[in-house]
Symmetry: C2
Subunit: 414 residues, 2 copies
């Protein structure tokens, strides 16, 4: 395996990031660039120019995923890297964007050093990763990997009723199935962590072992509304007191099973200061690295909620909204990333992704892994999202040297 | 004291109640008759006719309170009774209405028996007791008793910006200060309990000892919003988990101090399933018969909330919205009601009102007490509000016989 130590040009990469942040800028240094919007189109046209300037051959697949290809010495299966250029409505400058523009910078750096790789390299910008305009997230990678049905993806609508397929045509980015990435040798996605772990552990690089399994429940607790002034506590069936005990218990289960459990959404009726709450509806978000433990956490939460409902004399309805198993990335790629970062003398650690990423779907069509860089204060999906320059550089260098090694490999990854 | 046992005519009283329920009828047997609305005007005109048919001399004071006077043998201070004819937007047929129409029925019954009382009797319909159109509640009784400033009352606006005074003029019920009830010998208000106590204790009559003290707090809990999938539980500052522990603790304090504590209103931000809650704002309604214990409950709740905020690493702001002391009714009147009900062989018990009533303000200008009758399932402010006929009859008979005794008394109540 080649052990050449390559370096990206941080200034050039930062210019790309700044130029991207000028498209859909919002106050506070953030970016609002919803998928297939006019800002997305503008970004795509510029990114296409950048890819062509880097000597890449650009193609677009039937989900609007943009692919730039750098040929290798041999027509072997390609080393693929990338992420997404769309953002949340109040997004930051790095989420997704860093992975795409670092991929471009990898190509530029190889060009600078006149390196011809054995395998072709393909960089990708996936469509609608955020799911902020068209739900669910990751429609581009889900479609191209055939994890999601093509008509399902095409029929997704935004809140104004516009179909994904029509908007793809509208901005001129509906390509053809033949252009999809395929027979991939490997896929590597560099991404910001969006959590506080790397920062709090003092590490610059996370070698991402996989993506947590995730489940959502919707819980409806029904008690009885009565006058707050006239109903003694022992005559009450207070849906909010019952719910509060449930929320405390859900957090305790999270601590016990090491799951991430969150009640993020809660509404209640009648929601009047002097009325005892009759109905509370709340969400439970449950995530775990281990599918067994995720299932166990859901079972414990469901049991607890039913038990508390009986104790509190309220009725309860628990509806599972969705349940996705954990993703395990290719161990060889994870090790390669870790070793590469160590050789570059960067502080590296194993980490699990709490959020979903395009790599989740691409993992189903070829060996896949991710590289995380720290998020300041763990913030993302917010204009205050920040990754320090030194970490951007370390992340991009880890990506560059990992991709370089992969691009020189004769044999497929087992 | 006179011990004649008098009886109301239940059929006539029910006809009045049915006729009232036809003005502002809503589905499910309810009534929507907001203060100073066209429905209120229609009700007032009919009530005026009924009072005149009963031989009463009708007058209207400067707050729109309607008073019907039956002269006594002597021009002594009057025995006053009444309540209100306005309702909540989704109100029932009895709340307030029962007290006014039973007062009318008391007069009719005295007329039937050709009884001439020593003292004059005055029946009253107070304006805007509910506070549903013009906040706060009890503007009519508060104004006439001078507990509330006249200009303050006049300047209250409904949600469409219409002033109380103008709406009073608009419906033709702005009378003059000279018409207020004054130098009252006693005031008795018959009302539905609006709670479950009489029903659950199997009693028909509550001799109301007073009205609970009441305080409202508004609490803001601020944590930190983060991604639910990427932030480990021990890195979180979850405003809702902190709030849930507070709500559980507030209920425990209520049970301990025998206060009625209610968190009835709660909103949160960002309120998204996969975001850790950043901010929760909730109300705390605290009521207690004893002012000392009310103050003690507020202190305990405030201490607990501050302690939990530190433990949960969230910030907290506790704002007192209002705080009203408990009302203690005239013990002589309370005993008279109790004895009268017992002599009528009705099941009677002492009770404290959890809700506010016109009697609260009238208590400040003369000896006052209330009679409660049971609410089926404790329901009120709802179209399902119901009091059984037998209890209506017992309540009205207790009112009639109490008023009759009072109206025959030579000397003022000490």
């Amino acid at each position: 395996m080649e052990k050449t130590r390559l370096s990206v040009n941080l200034e050039r990469l930062k210019k790309y990031i700044d130029a991207s942040a000028n498209i859909g800028t919002i106050p506070g240094n953030g970016v609002s660039r919803l998928a297939l919007s006019k800002e997305d189109k503008e970004m795509r046209l510029i990114f296409e120019d950048w890819m062509k300037e880097a000597g890449l051959k650009v193609r677009v697949d039937d989900f609007g995923n943009m692919i730039g290809r750098r040929e290798g010495k041999e027509n072997k299966s390609p080393v693929v890297l990338g992420s997404h250029l769309d953002t949340q409505p109040n997004g930051g400058r790095y989420d997704g964007i860093l992975g795409v523009l670092s991929a471009l910078e990898v190509v530029n750096s190889l060009n600078d050093s006149n390196i011809e790789t054995l395998r072709p390299i393909e960089i990708v910008n996936f469509t609608n990763e955020e799911g902020a305009r068209f739900e669910p997230p990751m429609l581009g990678s889900g479609g191209t990997s055939e994890c999601l049905d093509k008509q399902y993806v095409y029929n997704q609508k935004d809140t104004e009723g516009r179909r994904f397929e029509e908007e793809l045509e509208e901005i001129g980015y509906k390509g053809i199935p033949a252009n999809r990435i395929k027979n991939i040798f490997s896929f590597i996605e560099l991404h910001i962590e969006q959590g506080p772990i790397l920062e709090s552990e003092g590490k610059s690089i996370g070698a991402v072992n996989g993506i947590q399994g995730m489940a959502w429940l919707e819980v409806k607790v029904t008690g009885e509304s009565d006058h707050a002034g006239t109903t003694p506590i022992n005559h009450r069936r207070d849906a909010l007191v019952a719910t509060s005990k449930m929320i405390v218990g859900i957090e305790e289960i999270g601590r016990k099973t090491n799951a991430k459990t969150t009640v993020g959404r809660l509404t209640m009726r009648p929601n009047v200061a002097n009325c005892i709450p009759e109905e509370v509806i709340f969400s439970v978000d449950i995530r775990h690295d281990s599918n067994t433990k995720k299932v166990e956490s859901i079972r414990m939460i469901t049991e607890l909620l039913n038990k508390l409902a009986v104790e509190q004399n309220v009725s309860i309805n628990i509806e599972p909204l969705w349940d996705i198993d954990a993703t395990i990335f290719n161990p060889y790629l994870v090790d390669l990333i870790k070793n590469t970062a160590e050789e570059l003398e960067y502080e590296v650690m194993d980490i699990i992704s709490g959020a979903g990423h395009d790599a989740k779907y691409i993992n189903s069509i070829g060996p896949t892994a991710m590289i995380f860089v720290p998020s300041v204060n763990g913030k993302s999906h917010h204009e205050s999202e920040l990754t320090h320059d030194k970490d951007i550089e370390k992340g991009a260098n880890t990506l560059l040297n990992t991709v370089y090694q992969l691009s020189m490999m004769e044999n497929e990854i087992i």
